[in-house]
């Protein structure tokens, strides 16, 4: 029996490795700009007396034209319309589900925003109201799209497309939302045999490869055992994504896949060790950099 | 059967009325009949004195534990008796777990008061050395099954458990300032009298029901308790709530209570044999 016990004194620092030289990192209260011509965005505040824009969170400064934002390293998800999110049902209420999507306030999924079994154009009856728990119950995971962002920050979701809906067997990984890169597509069928849904809210879903045609809104679920090969691929992907997240690397299809390939020299269980993690991250980073 | 049960559940008052019109009670007793009382002494071997009382279905168990303490400052020559009544959540659906309910507190005070105020026990016999050591009797009554008239049951349990108490001999050596206890030699307590209570309730402000069951208590008002201690002596008469009584009714209560004392005293002696 082998045990891997470490002393904290020997711990290696897990600081963010500077990858991007142009990255401008700030702490709360740090000066970002004295130029009053800029507009202040999320994560900043305006010091009226001094006429300066200061950071209110720790993170990286981003500029889009005249808008200055700070993208925090660790945060809750701030919704944007059209984002793909993964959420977990926490409560079944009156004509709505409450969803945990890593936002500050609970998100809601209205009964009217869901494709019910039996077709898109079906009328919702009183029967459906009583059957809500049969469709989605507490603990179920869904993929959804943000439909509305209300002024207080809570989100309304919808799953009115066959690619969204209830999720079946798979692994959920939670990372900071700021690590998920905004892309055109967040559903990725990777060549290693897994499907990864990178939710903008930092929830990442890893499941066996799924064809796009057979999407049925998740009401038909596969509950038979998953083959060992598929399972290992999924677990490897999970550990790879956690490695990247631990070292604050941006997550998108390429980085995830590269990390997966970089990990191939390790056994599954070895990937939990800090040395292996660092190695995988370094290899991934190098590969991305050379390709840029 | 089921219809009768439904009326019993939904229209309790009507149900009882139907019986009382026939001068009979749902458990087949007459209006003035008490339930059968049973008494067992010394059932709990871990206690220094114990008794179990049954009035119909109502069951109360009293166990007395004796410990050593310092006598109260105002009465250096006397011992201490502490009575507590518990109505655990087990005994009926209406009781909750947690600290003693109001009802339990009222009962505790009632028992404590009767034990002390009737002078049934001379507390100086609990004293070992004046001002220094005395016995303290923790007299805990637990209601195991609550089916009405809990007052009579707990009091009877407490009184008969006191009768059952046997204390180890204690000796104080003034020179050595040493208290020794000899568990092999024991003594009984001397009780000067035996207070026995009998409770009544009033149905419809008019009909006196003796030794009521829980079912009767829920639709009746008022409680009359008469405590007698043998012969003609009456320790206490109390009446709470309900309509006023006429003197004849009260006289009836008292005479029934006297009769009750005789019955219980017979029961007690038969148990001691």
């Amino acid at each position: 029996m082998e045990f891997n016990i470490r002393l904290a004194a020997n711990r290696k620092s897990r600081a963010v490795l500077p990858s991007d030289k142009t990255m401008h990192q700030v702490n709360p209260g740090d000066l970002i700009s004295k130029d009053s011509g800029y507009m202040r965005g999320h994560g900043t505040y305006f010091d009226v007396d001094e006429g300066k824009i200061l950071a209110s969170v720790a993170g990286c400064v981003e500029r889009v034209n005249k808008l200055i934002c700070v993208r925090p390293l660790k945060t809750r998800y701030i919704g944007e319309v059209g984002d793909v999110v993964i959420g977990r049902i926490t409560e079944v209420g009156n004509k709505r589900w409450k969803v945990d999507a890593h936002t500050v306030l609970d998100s809601v999924l209205l009964l009217s925003c869901v494709n019910l079994p039996g077709g898109e154009l079906r009328k919702r009856s009183e029967e459906d109201e009583r059957m809500m728990r049969e469709y989605l119950s507490e603990g179920d995971l869904i993929s959804a799209e943000v439909q509305t962002v209300y002024s207080d920050g809570h989100l309304s979701l919808h799953t009115r497309s066959l690619k969204y809906g209830k999720l079946g067997q798979g692994i959920l990984v939670k990372v900071s939302p700021s690590l998920v890169k905004r892309c055109k597509n967040h559903f990725h069928n990777l060549p290693c045999g897994v499907t990864v849904i990178l939710g903008n809210n930092g929830y990442i879903w890893i499941c066996p490869l799924q064809s796009n045609e057979g999407a049925e809104g998740g009401f038909m679920q596969r509950l038979d055992p998953i083959s060992e090969q598929e399972r290992e691929a999924m677990v490897r992907m999970r550990n790879s994504i956690l490695c990247l997240a631990q070292y604050k690397m941006m997550l998108y299809d390429t980085s995830a896949y590269y990390a997966y390939e970089a990990s191939s020299q390790y056994q599954l269980y070895e990937m939990l060790k800090p040395e292996a993690m660092q190695n995988i991250v370094n290899m991934t980073r190098q590969r991305i950099e050379t390709e840029m | 059967m089921s219809a009768a049960n439904e009326v019993r559940a939904y229209q309790r008052k009507e149900y009882l009325l139907k019986f009382l019109e026939q001068d009979v009670r749902p458990d087949n007793r007459g209006l003035g009949d008490t339930r059968e009382a049973k008494l067992t002494l010394g059932a709990i071997s871990t206690a220094d004195g114990s008794a179990m009382v049954k009035l119909g279905h109502t069951v109360a168990v009293c166990g007395i534990k004796a410990e050593i303490t310092r006598p109260p400052t105002d009465k250096p020559d006397s011992g201490v008796i502490i009575a507590n009544v518990q109505l655990p959540a087990m005994c009926a659906p209406e009781f909750k777990s947690g600290p003693p309910s109001e009802k339990a507190q009222v009962l505790s005070d009632f028992v404590q008061q009767v034990l002390l105020d009737t002078g049934m026990i001379d507390r100086t016999q609990l004293c070992i050395e004046s001002g220094l050591h005395c016995w303290i009797l923790y007299c805990d009554v637990i209601c195991c099954n609550y089916d009405g008239n809990i007052r009579d049951a707990v009091l009877l349990a407490a009184v008969s458990a006191l009768k059952d108490v046997s204390l180890p001999m204690a000796q104080y050596d003034a020179e050595q300032e040493n208290l020794t206890i000899d568990k092999d030699r024991k003594r009984q307590l001397t009780l000067s009298c035996m207070p026995v209570s009998l409770s009544f309730t009033l149905f419809d402000d008019a009909v006196l029901l003796v030794d009521p069951t829980h079912e009767e208590e829920t639709v009746c008002q008022g409680q009359i308790t008469v405590i007698t201690s043998g012969g003609d002596s009456i320790c206490s008469v109390s009446k709470h709530g309900g309509a006023s009584l006429n003197p004849e009714q009260l006289t009836l209560c008292i005479s029934k209570a006297k009769q009750r004392w005789c019955d219980i005293s017979k029961l007690m002696t038969s148990n001691h044999l």
Partner: protein
Amino acid sequence: MPQDSRRNCHTDESYHPDRFLSICKFNTQNNTTVINDNGLRIDGRSSSDSRPIFLETGFVTRSKGSSYIEIGNTKVICACYGPKQLQSKDTGLRKGVLSCELKYASFASAVHKTDQANMLEKEYSVLMVDALSPCIILDRFPKAQVDIFVTILEDGGSAFPAAITAASLALADAGIELYSLAIGASLQQHKEWALVDPTHEEENMVALLGECTGSLCIAYMPGLSQVSMVSQQGYITHQQLSQGMVTLIELCKDVSTLVRRCLVNSIQRKGQQESSVGD
């Protein structure tokens, strides 16, 4: 000491009389052997003998189901209420919930119980939920809670296993659907001896003698042949533990025939009552 206004109490502290036993007496008390040269225990049983058991249902008339059990001097009453509607919002939507409360009467043990928040009672209550919830078909009463209240009137040893047996009997009496009854049993390992169904004195010996001893308590579900609770403490070997389990399971099977007989009797009695009412 803070005064509790809801109970009658004395202002001074009080002490157990054993504190004042003359020294020689105190010592002789400790020196008694648990098991003599003939392999007999203090009360004359052999190590594998259990004490006589008395069981009865319907003790607490206004409960849904109740039971009374007596094993040697141990006396336990148990009552079961419910199912009643759950108060809290988030739990038990699909399944029912079981709650147990075990209380010692203040005169149940050698020492008068004063401690209001008794740790042992709490621990036993938690263990009891673990022991009984596997045998209840909880999905037959969603959104509801079944309460079990146990009062130990006298602890003459093995009170907790007796409480488990009593509770499952009360559940059966209440007509709550069960996968199986749960029967409790315990033993006390003393050197090479496994003392089955120990008395209170034997349980206490361990604390005092304390060399390579231990206690083991299990709850066994004879219907499913599964163990629903294990609780062991002390210092014993792996072999002793597994051997103890085997011994106790046998004991549980024996006790379960008594529980069965008690239930059959109570059903027959109820049947007779009903038919006599019918006439």
